[in-house]
Amino acid sequence: MINMPIYRAVLSVLFGVLLASNLPASQTYWLSDIAPTREQAEKMRSSHGGMVIRGQQGHSKKLWLRKGDSIADSTYVEQSDLPLVLVSPEASQAELAFSNEGYADITFKMQHEGYYNLFMIDKRVEDGVLQETVLKNESLSHSCRAGHDHVKELVPPLYFEGVSFDIIRERLPRESFHLRLGSGDIITYKVMLNGKPVSGAAVTMSTQKGWAKTLKTDSDGRASFEMIRDYYPPWHEFNKRNMETFLIIAEYESDESGVYQGESYDRVHYKATSAGNYYPSARDYKSYTYGLLIGLFGLTVSIFFIYFHRKRAAKLYREKRFA
């Protein structure tokens, strides 16, 4: 607040939304790797698992705090003093804070291969309800230069005990560090409460273009979504690296009661958010028919070539006659 420009202080007093010192339950917040401005976006590069800032000693991840019930109508939060916890692929933890230089953003170096999990946890009592909100971001760090023989062990998701309410994306059978989630893929999220799967939690997936679907978790705490196809450009404009964002919101209410920081509550409302990226399905731009036709063409031409080559070689030498 001390270094904050006056206009922003006035705005925050008037609207109270751009400054997030806590996360009101009525709003949805999440961590996003999509830059708010073109200048910032130009500094980002696409890498395995999303946008990064490339560096010689490994890539850095930059995330912004966003607010809104859908991606399309969201805003970028300008300031937040809530702490973040970064869990590295080696399970070491570090406490981080937003930079608050223009936007509530956080940059961290990813020096190890694997998934970095960033958590922002907010707990407070509102109208007799304990609101526990978890913002999660799972960022992949991978460079092909580091090789691929160590990748298999690093693919499974990490479980972090410091988070009571967590959403975990289950890995696809073909998952690798090179996987890009695409339209048509079945993406499964597992909702965990105190390390155990939660049945009946509401999980909502919403996409950049406004599509949304809500499911209840099954007895194993799982909710599965089939990624929609919402990219239909003309063929010559098609970009298989066209990245779109989706947001996952998991909510669950329990009748637990107690006292938190001197305030009593008789219900707990858990909320967790996580964002991800998806791309066009390979089925949109890969063709078996043409592949097999071209293969067959190569095969047929070779057969004819061999046949005529042999026929010519087998022809008897014709004696030249001079009259």
Binding site: G147, D149, K240, Y285, Y288, G291, L292, I294, G295, G298
Partner: protein, 324 residues
Amino acid sequence: MRNKIRNFLNNGDLGRFRFWLQLSLFILFVYGGYAAINMGDSLPTFSCTYVDGKPGTCFLVPLQHRMVTTPEKLFSYAGMAILTGLFYFTLWFLVFNKAWCGYACPLGAIQDWITALRKKLGMQYVTYSWEQFKVLKKIKYILLLLLIFIPMGIGSGIFSYDMGVPFCMICPARTILPIFSGDFSQLTIDFSSKTKMIMTSLGMLITGIFLVGAFVKKRFFCFFCPMSALHYLLSKPALLKLKKDGSKCTKCGDCYSVCDMQIKEIADDVESRNILQDDCIMCFKCVAACPEEGALEVDFMGQPVFEATVQGYIKRMEKANKNG
């Protein structure tokens, strides 16, 4: 005891030994990953990265991948990654030399099995003329240079990133080997960009040519294989060697007539002790077919492990005649 072992090896049925070893190594390089085997990513053979159950990766993949960088980075930290990969590749390679081609390469094994099928069908194979041979043998070196320089061109912004791993895009191992684990996805044309479309079309065209080529010409693809070219550049200090004693050679030509790669020098060169040529796949058929005692031999760290003997030759010929 030593002589007994030596006689056993020299009189052995090389064809049978090779068939079973090739089959075992094919299973290892196509399905080994399912048994949690991890041999790294610097293997000197086509353990194709596109195969789901691979136990390791062909060195040409990381080599191409790591070359996609700017010249400044190439001569700094990125160069270290390339040198480290090359170091492990060299360690693997130095032990078995080019026998990786003759005994371990899954694509080589497929070509040998296609040859066996052709033999069963009673069809005749083709050979190259000496002029054709001289031209064709250069292709693998050109491909080796291209697979190094095209990725460098990508890193410098000359070529599109869609060129990716250029040799893999045209290598038949990428399209054929994944089929053995039920994955047909490499038999597609990628229409996402013009570069991808051209490269995947070229890959499928070469796959069609490969199937016919391997049917009529023994070890058809090995003439063009840049891995073979890379092998030869490092083969001098390798521990496994193919040696010839020219004074014992009668130039009968039996070795040349059984050579899948049509290497003339194996019969003609009576001067060189180390007879390994760049196209040699170290299958050692020449040693098995040689009737002259000690004219050809396979050495490992200076110790002969398999050599041409009259007794061995007669035994193998008797067996061949018996089998028709």
